[in-house]
């Protein structure tokens, strides 16, 4: 089976790309493709806890990230440099993955058949 990695590199809500990418990710999981999810750069903002986009009439898809494991997504990597840039620590973000440096992330992308970023 071909493997795929999803790179979330944009903040949520200003544009819909986070939700759109997540929808592709869930569909690939239904096809049982091996999946890696990466939050990189500004994409780490997707993981901040207690988001309330509903007051802006935007759908809250943050909870779906917590369900990634249920969907069979085993590897979730969070870019250490992205966290540092936004002064986030593990207590501020959803506990869904492991912190990784850019070398590890680069290595994962190189060894995956498809990488998708929106």
């Amino acid at each position: 089976m071909k493997s795929v990695c999803f790179i979330f590199n944009k903040p949520p809500y200003g544009q819909e790309s986070g939700k759109e990418l997540l929808d592709i990710c869930l569909m690939c999981s239904a096809f049982e493709m091996p999946i890696t999810v990466i939050f990189q750069g500004d994409g780490v903002l997707q993981l901040i806890e207690n988001q309330q986009p509903d007051i802006l009439n935007i759908k809250n898809y943050s909870k779906t990230f917590k369900a990634l494991k249920l969907y069979g997504v085993e590897t979730v990597l969070i870019d250490a440099a992205g966290l540092e840039k936004h002064q986030l620590v593990t207590e501020n973000i959803l506990n869904i993955g492991e912190i990784a440096n850019s070398k590890i992330i680069q290595n994962v992308i190189q060894n995956t058949d498809f990488s998708i970023m929106l």
């Binding site: 089976m1 790309s17 759109e20 929808d23 592709i24 970023m117 929106l118």
Partner: protein, 130 residues
């Protein structure tokens, strides 16, 4: 020889992505490769609107895709969820949602995201145009 699929999310006319994707598709075919499927997602679905009416001295993207699809027998698949919320509907969806008419160009087909995944599994490369 390789098999390609395209994922197009670029808004037509306000963004270069669709023009680039069109040129890329032609180049891939000219080089003797295969295009498995072209999948339109997010704002990219807007190109499937048969009512798009650009000025005569600009490239009509909808017609350009349709012509290419018919000539080279390529599947142009449009994400149904992204399309419906942007007013791109076929006859069946128009009736289901009590709309006055369909708006999709007949060269394009509404379908689900599963078609993108299925195309990836059958392709060597997926190229995104956003």
């Amino acid at each position: 020889m390789a098999t390609f699929s395209l994922l197009i999310t670029a808004n037509p006319y306000s963004n270069q992505g669709q023009y680039s994707a069109l040129k890329f598709t032609k180049a891939v075919l000219e080089a003797g490769h295969i295009i498995k499927r072209i999948f339109f997602y997010a704002d990219g679905v807007l190109v499937a609107n048969r009512l798009n009416c650009p000025p005569a001295d600009e490239l009509n993207l909808t017609k350009s895709w349709a012509k290419l699809a018919i000539e080279k027998d390529i599947e142009l698949t449009v994400c149904v969820t992204a399309a419906l919320k942007r007013g791109i509907v076929n006859q069946a969806e128009a009736e289901r949602n009590a709309l006055t008419s369909e708006s999709i160009d007949p060269a394009f087909e509404l379908s689900g995201l599963g078609q993108l995944t299925e195309a990836m599994l059958a392709s060597d490369r997926l190229v995104t145009f956003g």
